[in-house]
């Protein structure tokens, strides 16, 4: 095992896949000469040259579309959005071209490509630079969505995403890039985590906190706090929102009968809404309490530090939600 950052894990995954397959190339704003806005692509230009590591103009719709076209022409593009906030400009190409082409061509043209970059809030970046974009990507069939929360998941899932024959949106966490964690050594061979497999990040029996991406860490903090109250929370990291690991969700519901969904995005028609629908459809008779969601407040992200603090989901709020689904008084809000 090596202990590396989330950023290094992504860098390793990119380098290994580019090494393995000449059709893989990286394109995006600042990915080459600047080494990447978040340094994820550091050293790749030097290693692979400007044919394969390409600085794009600031034209999200244009270079996302170019990526789709390149995939149609036989390549495996990795398109980096500096952040997914800017990818809203590109959604036409993501939804109408990348996600639909395989179907629309009656199976003639798969679109194997990855759109990647950070999603969600960082710190005091306010409304237009702090938003979780999962919901916009997860609605349409034809595109997958992966949200790694740890360095190991980041590496294993990015390698799987690049090899996948469908377009994959790969959403990272801006505040995760410096997170360190254990990742299998490069010498130990190809480390690939299949898409669509959730991971129990903490075993527990009283309540399930289901979540994805960066929020895994908030969930683990909350579980720690709950432990002091004698509550044993399970944390299930979905890792991939499409395909969804329904089996894993049902397993944890059967076990604890109580669920809190934690996500960084807005509540309205959010990921938690989908998961709650799935649970009530598939495991209604295993619920002991309504499913609660902890999300960002239903407002654009404010700038002021104190307001930002309360707009974002945090461990205390998760603890309160867990107490509520456990019908425990005391910490109720």
């Amino acid at each position: 095992m090596q202990t590396i950052t989330y950023r290094e894990a992504l860098n390793q995954a990119l380098a290994e896949e580019m090494e393995r397959d000449d059709t893989v190339f990286l394109m995006g704003e600042e990915v080459a000469e600047y080494d990447g806005a978040y340094k994820v692509s550091k050293g790749l230009l030097e290693k692979f040259g400007d044919r394969r590591v390409v600085d794009s103009p600031i034209a999200e719709l244009g270079f996302a579309g170019l990526g789709v076209g390149a995939a149609m022409g036989g390549l495996r593009p990795v398109i980096e959005f500096m952040t997914f906030n800017f990818s809203i400009l590109a959604l036409d190409q993501v939804i109408n071209s990348a996600a639909k082409t395989f179907y629309m061509t009656g199976g003639q043209l798969p679109v194997p490509m990855v759109f990647r970059g950070p999603t969600g809030a960082a710190l005091q970046l306010s409304a237009q630079h702090s938003q979780a974009c999962e919901t916009w990507y997860v609605h349409a069939p034809g595109i997958k969505l992966v949200t790694p929360g740890t360095p190991a998941d980041a590496k294993g899932l990015l390698k799987a995403a690049i090899r996948d024959n469908d377009p994959v949106a790969f959403m990272e966490g801006e505040l995760l890039y410096n997170l360190k964690g254990e990742v299998p050594d490069v010498e130990d061979g190809d480390f690939v985590i299949p898409l669509g497999k959730a991971d129990v990040k903490r075993e527990g029996s009283d309540v399930s906190i289901i979540t994805h991406g960066k929020m895994v860490h908030v969930a683990l903090q909350a579980a720690k706090k709950l432990e002091k109250d004698g509550i044993d929370a399970e944390v299930l990291d979905l890792r991939s929102l499409r395909p969804l690991d329904v089996e894993a969700i049902l397993a944890t519901v059967h076990k604890t009968n109580r669920v809190v969904y934690l996500e960084e995005g807005w509540p309205y028609a959010g990921i938690g809404a989908q998961i709650a629908a799935t649970i009530q459809e598939e495991a209604f008779d295993y619920l002991d309490a309504p499913i609660l969601r902890v999300t960002q407040a239903d407002v654009p992200m404010p700038y002021a530090k104190n307001l930002e603090q309360i707009a974002k989901p945090d461990a205390d709020r998760v603890v309160r939600a867990c107490n509520r689904v456990l019908y425990r008084n005391g910490s109720a809000d």
């Binding site: 061509t105 003639q108 469908d166």
Partner: protein, 361 residues
């Protein structure tokens, strides 16, 4: 269909001076005429089939613009790419997609070009290098840049021709894509089928500059051609394709043409946005097929009997396509869930998956 593309290399040996037909052989010219006649008859058949409900949805006809399809696709090689918007039937035919497959697609049948999943607006045939059939105005332009990028990346000896309507030049995607094509010298020929109207809006009302000048600031060489004149178009395209193959980067053409029919089958031919007189006079004076026919008559290279025979032949092709489409099977129910990643829940209730789960538990 008539194979006109292989003849193009033989051009220049003709002896039909004084008629504007210089540089083309008689057989080739007759081939052009027959090919365009095929497109016309095909679209007329589609129109008829739409009227009696055989074809549904949106259906955009290319009648009046046949020389654009032939002029920009005919000179290409088999493995060159063509990508276009939703007015795509005749471009598909020009790139070698079987008339049967195109018609069956319009009929929504399993034997259609994309197995009944795309319809009129989304004809594809990857093997023939026909990359669709795209429904969002201007969205195919970045895709074309991507195909060009892939060609260059893989050091392939092919080019990409990207059609768009005049309205597409107002889309951001157009400017973003042409800019990237220019900076990376991508092998793409961008063709604006300038039929003067974006649906019901005259181009002059939504652009301060003419079509040709809209690419000027992006560094893509721009050209203009009367695309009702197949010969002028063909000649220009041969020249531009050669430049692109030589690695000079993208080219841009304002191809002036005119749509004889409504924007789609559900729109009027004329009305508030253009007068009946305008359409009538264009049809009379600028029909690309009649123009070529008359030049051939004038040069005494074509007889009325030959023309009638040509028409019989292409009508037979079109009739057969309609019969084929009529008899072709509809896609099976199971096809609903093929060729796409989708979340089919094993437990049966999460998403409707077209399968009957009753009694399985």
């Amino acid at each position: 269909m008539t194979d006109t593309s292989t003849m193009s290399r033989e051009a220049g040996k003709g002896d039909e001076s004084m008629t504007g037909l210089e540089g083309f052989e008689t057989d080739q010219l007759k081939g052009f005429l027959k090919e365009m006649l095929l497109y016309r008859r095909f679209e007329e058949k589609a129109e008829e089939a739409y009227a009696i409900g055989k074809i549904g949805g949106f259906c955009h006809l290319h009648i009046g613009q046949e020389a654009v399809a032939l002029g920009f696709i005919g000179p290409l090689r088999k493995d060159d790419y063509v990508i276009t918007a939703y007015r795509d039937h005749t471009q598909a035919l020009a790139k070698g997609v079987e008339a049967n497959a195109v018609m069956a697609e319009l009929y929504g049948r399993d034997s259609g070009a994309v197995r009944g999943k795309g319809g009129s607006m989304h004809i594809f045939d990857v093997e023939k290098g026909f990359m669709g059939g795209h429904g969002i105005v201007g969205a195919q332009v970045p895709l074309a840049a991507g195909l060009g990028f892939a060609i260059k990346y893989r050091e392939e000896d092919r080019i990409c021709v990207c059609f768009m309507g005049d309205a597409a030049v107002n889309q951001g995607a157009f400017h973003e894509a042409l800019n990237m094509a220019a900076i990376w010298k991508l092998p793409v020929l961008f063709v604006v089928e300038n039929n003067e109207y974006g649906m019901g809006t005259a181009f002059s009302r939504v652009s301060a500059l003419p079509v040709k000048e809209r690419a000027a600031g992006l560094g893509v060489p721009a050209h203009h051609v009367n695309a009702q004149d197949i010969l002028a178009t063909w000649t220009l395209v041969e020249e531009l394709v050669e430049k692109i193959r030589a690695g000079e980067g993208p080219q841009y053409v304002d191809a002036r043409t005119y749509r004889f029919k409504g924007h789609s089958m559900s729109d009027p031919v004329s009305g508030t946005y253009r007068s009946k007189d305008e359409v009538e006079s264009k049809v009379k004076q600028e029909d690309p097929i009649s123009l070529l026919r008359d030049r051939l008559f004038d040069a005494e290279l074509l007889t009325e009997d030959e023309l009638a025979e040509m028409d019989r032949e292409v009508r037979a092709v079109v009739d057969e396509a309609a019969d084929f489409a009529e008899e072709a099977p509809f896609p099976a129910r199971e096809e609903l869930y093929t060729h796409v990643y989708s979340e089919v829940n094993e437990h049966g209730r999460l998403f409707f998956d077209g399968r009957d789960r009753e009694g399985e538990d």
